[in-house]
């Protein structure tokens, strides 16, 4: 029949079809034509689109419906895997489903909140691997039987009762709203965030936008597909659990400025460290730590100076002489006088408190004075330049003082 059924009616029909799946294909299609017509008429009785619960109250469960039909039509009893094997099938499929739905998402969540990029990748991959492998094992354990056989054992039935109890707590009108409004919203949200998040890791913004839209479309398609073939549930339920963990995390991260776990790792990778790594302290030159400064005058003589920046703030470094290393505390720990004295190890390469020596002597050979650049040419009147006069009266203890500009 050329009817397109939607929602609860389609689900109910699919479940009846699953119950009758052992019929010869031709007869199955013929009888389902009738059933589909019947469900359409029954749905029309309700006025609005009925919920699955309403349909079940009116017609009995899909299994009861199919059994009635089978008896009245004189079809042979359902051919099922014999007794115990049937139970085992259901339980095994359910067990793999449970593993896919708990262990997989657990590792993925561990990955999301892990502090290093390597861990994120490792646990994320592990989680998804566990999820997909157990889900496929679950579907395989079904061996083509109706997915609802998983509830045909004591544990499964008890679980179903518990869930039905929770669902019954929700007022019927809210339940309808949840399904009619909540479900499409959820489908779109999980698709957009899932695909968007994935592409945001590996692609540019435009790729992310296109990826999100595609993700939403795929997610809706999967949702519709799952309504028809319930075996998809083995994959969809665990993935939904992952999405239920990931979506709040993404939203929280977007709100809080992407400053934890996975998002932080992501930022590090992309070269932005605004939130996590504090700016390095101390004095740096091209990224290397500067621990001491050895000033030389134009003639290559080491001189003592005090350093200030353009605002008149002293450029100070931590003291590293013997006093700083061995206890003397009643003084500033920093100084802007350079060169600073540093500890000189004794001939054995050791230093002790008693024998500690420190020195301001440069630990390298002073460079030859670059005469052409640093020595100004003599003035036309033959008077020596400033540098020359400094040479005339060398004063090793001179302190150069840079005046603050304000």
């Amino acid at each position: 029949m050329n009817t397109t059924l939607t929602g609860a009616v389609a689900i109910y029909l699919a479940q009846v079809r699953a119950e009758l799946s052992d019929l010869p294909p031709g007869e199955l299609e013929d009888v389902l034509e009738d059933v589909s017509g019947h469900l359409t008429e029954v749905a029309a009785e309700f006025g609005t689109e009925p919920t699955i619960t309403a349909l079940q109250e009116r017609l009995g469960s899909p299994r009861q419906y199919a059994d009635e039909l089978r008896t009245a039509a004189g079809y042979p009893p359902r051919t099922e895997p014999a007794g115990q094997g049937h139970l085992d099938t259901g339980w095994r499929a359910l067990r793999w489903g449970l593993i896919a739905g708990t262990v997989g998402p657990f590792f993925v969540a561990t990955g999301i909140f892990a502090w290093s990029r390597d861990e994120t990748a490792f646990f994320g991959m592990l989680g998804f691997a566990v999820l997909f492998v157990s889900a496929s094992l679950g579907v395989r354990a079904l061996r083509g039987s109706d997915p609802r056989t998983v509830l045909d054992n004591p544990r499964g039935a008890r679980g179903a009762d518990v869930v039905r109890g929770w669902v019954d707590q929700i007022p019927p009108n809210i339940r309808t709203e949840l399904v009619t409004i909540g479900q499409p919203v959820w489908w779109v949200a999980r698709g957009v965030i899932g695909a968007g998040g994935f592409f945001a890791l590996f692609g540019a913004t435009s790729v992310t936008v296109v990826g999100s839209v595609a993700g939403a479309a795929v997610s809706i398609w999967i949702g519709r597909k799952t309504q028809r073939d319930r075996r998809w549930l083995w994959y969809v339920v665990p993935l939904n659990i992952v999405a239920a963990i990931a979506i709040p995390s993404f939203l929280a991260a977007a709100y809080a400025g992407a400053s934890f776990g996975f998002f932080n790792n992501y930022n590090d990778y992309r070269g932005s460290n605004s939130n996590y790594n504090p700016p390095p302290s101390g004095l740096q030159l091209d990224g290397n730590q500067v621990t001491n400064i050895y000033p030389f005058d134009a003639q290559g003589n080491q001189v003592d100076v005090r350093l200030y920046d353009q605002d008149g703030n002293p450029i100070s470094l931590d003291l590293q002489d013997c006093a700083a290393n061995y206890g003397q505390v009643s003084r500033e720990s920093k100084s802007n006088e350079f060169p600073q004295a540093v500890v000189v190890p004794d001939e054995n390469g050791d230093t002790t408190e008693e024998t500690c020596k420190d020195s301001t002597k440069a630990p390298f050979a002073p460079p030859p004075a670059p005469a052409t650049r640093t020595t100004p040419a003599p003035l036309p009147n033959g008077r020596p330049s400033a540098a020359a006069s400094a040479k005339a009266s060398p004063s090793p203890g001179v302190t150069l003082t840079v005046k603050p500009t304000r």
């Binding site: 007869e27 009738d34 019947h38 199919a66 039909l69 008896t71 039509a73």
Partner: protein
């Protein structure tokens, strides 16, 4: 006594009877049975009965478009169906008479 138990035995006859005067689609048959007073009839068993009678060659089947929705599959009696209805009616009448007599004798006794 549960009417639905009795119905199981005579549902064939009831379905044939409501199709005697006019062809009908499944839901239509269901409605006619209910209107005739067979309230307890289960939806699915009517559809199953139609399939069985069709498979037994007692019914014809054809699809007709409807104004307000999907196409509908109609069922109607063919020659075999009419003969089956006649035979079944006889059987039923005989059975019903026997039962009536039996129950009357009991009452009298």
């Amino acid at each position: 006594m549960d009417t639905s138990q009795l119905l199981k035995g005579v549902l064939d006859l009831a379905v044939l009877a409501v199709l005697r005067d006019a062809d009908g689609y499944g839901y239509d048959v269901l409605r006619r049975l209910r209107a005739a007073g067979l309230e307890e009839v289960a939806d699915a068993s009517v559809y199953g009965t139609l399939r069985r009678l069709f498979a037994a060659g007692a019914l014809t089947s054809y699809v007709q478009p409807s104004e307000e929705g999907p196409h509908r599959k109609y069922y109607g009696l063919n020659k075999t169906g009419r003969e089956l209805l006649a035979r079944s009616t006889e059987t039923w009448n005989h059975f019903a008479d026997t039962m009536s007599v039996l129950l009357l004798e009991k009452e009298a006794a």
